[in-house]
């Protein structure tokens, strides 16, 4: 009997901006981008982890105006939980992200505890950290 993570949900202000960042800066693949009226289902993934999808959702999707506003503010303030990735070639990933215009929080540095890592903000304000695999 096994259990695996299938979907993790990421709150973003604007799916198009988020797609551009996660695809061009980090090299994720767009698995689904399906529209039906106001409804849009966008998932991102990586060939390194088939079966895992990152689902983009907007602050007001399925929430009251008040709750959506509260979440949008927390997102803009940069206080929602961070997303952590590993990369097989951290320096190359960092260069690619910088070329794509990513907002750098920390250049790749060797951490005293082990792997080298770096950090960015995505266009919505989520912290994204990438560590050397």
């Amino acid at each position: 009997m096994t259990i695996s993570l299938q979907y993790t949900h990421l709150t973003v202000h604007n799916p198009d901006e988020a797609i551009a960042f996660y695809r061009d800066a980090l090299g994720l693949e767009v698995q689904n981008d399906v529209r039906n009226g106001d409804f849009r289902w966008v998932t991102l993934g990586t060939a390194a982890q088939p079966g895992l999808g990152i689902v983009l959702s907007e602050p007001h999707a399925g929430r009251s105006k008040e709750d959506g506003d509260a979440l949008a503010k927390l997102l803009a303030k940069g206080v929602l939980p961070m997303l952590n990735f590993t990369a097989s070639d951290l320096d190359a990933t960092f260069e690619q992200a910088v070329s794509a215009g990513a907002e750098v929080l920390q250049e790749p540095i060797d951490q005293p505890w082990g792997p080298k890592d770096c950090a960015f903000r995505d266009p919505s304000g989520n912290m994204v950290r990438v560590a050397q695999a």
Binding site: K73, A76, K77, G78, N84, Q111, W113
Partner: protein, 149 residues
């Protein structure tokens, strides 16, 4: 909520990131406010509304958090103080004691196994002392598993 409010919060976030990144530099509020394209007074008011403490207090809690990490790693109190950008050992120690509820040397001396179990990038965020106005750091006490005085 208006688009302008979101723009303001985004600018405040960039200024806060600047404090997190450059805490060891001799940062002052006018320099940080310029990052957010605001006057120092307006910036301080908006920052406090958004993050619950003044920009200067935020800078100090980042320094104390970093100093705590250095103390846990074995640094001397003097080295920890200077490395995080504090210039006076006396005021650093009293600020540390006020925020953390114990002196730097007492903090350095005790068990930190709960913190050592977390990845450092997470420690940095979660062990930052929270100022709730009482002068005590409730969040940090909780993170350290302290339930008593």
């Amino acid at each position: 909520m208006t688009p302008e409010e979101l723009v303001t919060l985004t600018l405040l976030r960039k200024a806060r990131d600047m404090i997190d990144r450059d805490y060891a530099q001799p940062l002052d509020v006018p320099t940080i406010a310029a990052k957010a394209f605001m006057s120092p007074a307006h910036f301080s008011r908006k920052f406090r509304e958004a993050y619950g403490e003044s920009p200067y207090s935020y800078l100090m809690t980042r320094r104390i958090e970093r100093a705590s990490a250095l103390l846990r790693a074995g640094a001397s109190v003097t080295d920890a103080c200077m490395t995080v950008g504090a210039t006076s050992l006396g005021s650093f120690s009293s600020r540390f004691t006020e925020i953390m509820g114990e002196t730097p040397s007492s903090y350095k001396a005790r068990d930190h196994s709960a913190i050592e179990a977390m990845p450092p990038c997470f420690v940095r965020v979660t062990t930052r002392p929270a100022r709730d106005g009482s002068g005590k750091s409730s969040r940090n006490q909780e993170a350290l598993g302290h339930t008593g005085p």
